[in-house]
Symmetry: C2
Subunit: 270 residues, 2 copies
Amino acid sequence: MAAWGERLAGVRGVLLDISGVLYDGGEGGGAPIPGSVEALARLKRSQLKVRFCTNESQKSRGDLVGMLRRLGFDISEGEVTAPAPATCLILKERGLRPHLLIHDGVRSEFDQIDTSNPNCVVIADAGDGFSYQNMNKAFQVLMELENPVLFSLGKGRYYKETSGLMLDVGPYTKALEYACGIEAEVVGKPSPEFFKSALREMRVEAHQAIMIGDDIVGDVSGAQRCGMRALQVRTGKFRPSDEHHPEVKADGYVDNLAEAVDLLLQHADK
Amino acid sequence: MAAWGERLAGVRGVLLDISGVLYDGGEGGGAPIPGSVEALARLKRSQLKVRFCTNESQKSRGDLVGMLRRLGFDISEGEVTAPAPATCLILKERGLRPHLLIHDGVRSEFDQIDTSNPNCVVIADAGDGFSYQNMNKAFQVLMELENPVLFSLGKGRYYKETSGLMLDVGPYTKALEYACGIEAEVVGKPSPEFFKSALREMRVEAHQAIMIGDDIVGDVSGAQRCGMRALQVRTGKFRPSDEHHPEVKADGYVDNLAEAVDLLLQHADK
């Protein structure tokens, strides 16, 4: 593999995944990944542009940022690209009224959305809200539509909490897709539109941007398919087999955000 | 389409699906489909061999048969091919100890199975048992195995209860497959092994047998791929679009079991 100097040359903007990179979620709000608070502070003091690109769909952007600030992270709401606000824009543009299969924690994002007489379904990481009853209700709404439309906020397979691996929204989206014989529209990583909106908001071109994430598919492959570079951190949901993934090769593997920031500050934009 | 006489010539054995053909499940045990009790009685008085081939995995075979007998059906346990007993045989043959993601109603079928220190997962139609917690537990068991093995009792998309369409095991199997990056082994329709075991038990060759079911994929396509003929009834989960399925064409579509039996008694084995 090329030297870091070559791999990171010309990087001007950094997109950061949140869960598994900054912190691990869990009971009581979760815990920062060691070194990440300081690493983010150093990165933000540098000349590199920084933006957060998350598939978090259990919490509103406000609650997510509030929680991260309490953990010590320097982050504000306007710096975060997240799927719930992006979905609301799409719903408004297309005049759609969703049935919401979502966590109560993110419901406030949809306050301005008409949910009467639904003509589509929005599925997000509902956690314990993924009861049989709630899944069946979403299924029945879709089956009653002539042209069933399903929006999935990300398609992650699982994420890591302090207590262990947890099913993410992706498996439940697959369940509804199979049950109804349809394909969901993904709003979130690895959808190219989602990465592109984060790049627009950061005002950096894809070839000058690098994604840092713990998900070899959602973060690394997704960003690379948009023309960005991508590093995988060995924290969060990282598994050693990711480094031998049959289809995806990151531009680099680093132990954690702290190592990524060390390398970026040393080699980027040279 | 050829005349019924031609389509049913040489049929000597009839495999009957249960849910959606004999009865619709639901609160209080469900209700017989009009005409099906009498149709089954007539069929059993004929010279045709009859066997039941079900993907029912919420109830034990004993409970299922008891319920059907109370609804008036002439059926005994030994006449039913069902996935839970078939799965137990496989588990014993391969020395596997399952984690069970199943409905309490079918748990007794697994009484003789060692479930300590599990090295595989069995998923059946768990109904309300498909909570996030239970799905996550099954997921975690699979992720901890070096070679994760998942048995799915059928892969039906949904079934019809008196209150409406209900998600079956298939969508939840797809969820675990996607989450773990694996493929389940299906025990039940449309697995060819399952149809073949029903044929063996009926002692009829595939080309002399006909399947009657309400599922265009699980029943009709599955049986045809085993060399059997298959009729779809317009009861249960049947939807008008099934008659224009892009890949599957039944050997005939009939309003209900009563019409199927009328035609069989008139034309079969000629």
